[in-house]
Amino acid sequence: MSMKTLQRNFYGWLLVLPFVITLVVFFVFALIRTVKYSFTDYDLFSEANFVGINNYINLLTDELFLRATINTISFSLVVTIIQTMLALGLAVLLNSRIKAKSFFRTAFYVPSILSSASVTLIFIWIYQKNGFLNGFISQLSELSSYFVLGLFSLAVVQLVQIAHQRFIGLPTKFFDPLLALISMITTIIVIIIVSKLGLLETTTVKVAVNWLGSRDDFGPMPVTLWAITIQNIYTTVPTIMLLFLAGLQTIPHDLYEAADIDGANKWQQLFHITIPQLAPVTFVVITLGIIGTLQMFDQVALLGTSSPLESRITLAYYVYYQAFSDSGTPNIGASSAAALILGIITLCIVFLQNKFGVKEKS
């Protein structure tokens, strides 16, 4: 090895040394300690006694741990899928030729710069039994007869207009904007008349869904975790949207022009050009999404006593809950075992995603 190569290697190592030290101290050393403690009954103070795989066996028989595992995996899959699709949709919309594009980009990104604590407090308020969400649904339910009438009127007026246009020989699309505007104005007038004449009755509906205090399940997750899902998607979609937007800028415009010439419509362009071309970004987004959601902690912890533990617990929170138990005695052994299981689950899901899910190359 020449002197020059040696010198270059030396500077290379020198530059990565801070990162290597950080990695060794805060990851490798911590990982080794965690593995060691997971086989002991360590409680921060007493001698760590070797207990074999007892901690792991206890975890597998602990209802709370099993609940946390199911909650975590369900949460991760649901959030990752929804947030990726939503972010892609928003990015495609914002990448199209719309007015005030910069305003919408900024407005959509705002939720991402809010702190988790603030967003959680806002959502606790929204989810209260007499909060915004239940109030909004109650209002919608009370006015449901007007909505039905409105939709019916809109469809009828639009159909009549389309029929008239085609009758006089004009090729008109069903969603023609001008006709839609006329239909909407007509519908509003119909609703006002019906309302003034008192022809439709509104029923008082009091929706009182217990979003945060409920122990009920809805599908694969407790209702409370669905509430956290909505909150989490609200805060993460904007960042992912930006990643997709950056990806969209790199797709050559020639591809769309060629597709246009070949007669491909917008949906065909989306599925055959945009999505395949965004594969590297989608791969990153999904991988980071899975890792991030499997480690969900802050929004669960911030909900505090607003909801029962079993209806909101995730594996990351379970690790904390064992380490700083309400019993006052830290259960570091069980906490370490749970942390390792969380790590293994994360690796497995990311591996499965890489193997069978979205690939880095289209």
């Binding site: 921060l44 007493s46 007499n130 205090g213 533990l309 309400d326 019993s327 005695t329």
Partner: protein, 424 residues
Amino acid sequence: MNKIKSFTHWLLLGLILFSSTSMADKKLINIAGWGGNDVVAVNKLLTTVIKSELDELNIEVRYFPVESDYGRYILNSLSAGNAPDAFYVNVDLIDSWVSTGQLKAFSDSFAANAQRMNPVLLDAFTVDNQLFGVPKDVNSLALQFNIDVFKDAKTPVPDENDTWLTLREKLVSVVEAIGDEGVLGTCLSADFAHFSPFALSTGWRPFNEEGKTVLDDNFKRAFNFYVSLVHDGLAIIPADIGQNWPGGCFGTENFAVVMEGQWLSGYLVDKSPNLLYQSTLIPADPKTGERGNMLFTVGWAINNNTANASDVEKVIALLTSDKAQRAILAAGLALPSSNTIVLPAAAEDSPSEQMAQTILTASTLDNVIPYKFGRYGKNWQTPIDVALTAAMLKQLTIEQALSEAQRKYDEMIMISTNKQQGEQ
């Protein structure tokens, strides 16, 4: 010019040497507790009330307030070996923390001197006949009622003669009279701490003689009553109106009664300064005629690894002395744990003083136990909390909720017993 410069240098050096010498002479004791009101309370003691005594002992005390997650801070610092010499310990954590070997027992002479304090509190901080904590204050629950609400509803206010049933009748009367104006009966928290006065007044105890938790018929009777208040539209839970605790509900001025401790008075001064309220004892069980309650307290404990155990004891003795507790009481920050302190008669126009009197009376009644659950800590109350939530929200029937809670207690106690046997 050079002379002035040189003089200034020597003067500065002299000052530094003087201050460092005087600092070195004094023994430094570090103590830790909560943030919030306690910062004012403890620093007031250190800088004025017990300052002369500390100077005589040649001790300097530094208070480290911990604003949040206090328990985690102490556990981390104890395990890292840099914990303060003395710190607060919640009564519900005393058994667990003693079992970790991190607390030092107070000397026999200190323990003998502490006998002037509430015996239930002292007993709560005593493990294996050794005193590990000195209660700095005391609190329990009382029934607070909104005078205007009862006046508007033309209903007699709650009093010390009330039982569960007569209180219920009064709440029904209030809700029937002015319920349509948005006034509600009460706000009940789905947790054992708030529910405990009812359960304890029946004669039920968290642990039977065998150390097991049995949710017997007495417990079920109390549970039924508490939950029925919600089911019958006389009570709501705090989350229903976006509050975290019943006191928050009471602060909206739309509730007839609430059951809280002395901590409510400070909150109401800020939140609802014009609210006219008074306090009375929590009603008795109509069957036994008894009242129940829990004592909530925090004590000073000594770090087992402190190098100045005897000095720390002296500091704690001063911090919990009658003189110090009188000063804290006068500032309205806490109620004294010492039985030798007699509260002055409450002023008629001071709901806070009247509440203090009621709470101190409640803390000396029969069926009063400390808020602690042995080696289980606060984890013990989780099955009851869950059962209360499920029953109040009608997610489970009362029978199902209690059966589920009993199953969890049997499991919890079996796991703990097996663990103990394994350790032996």
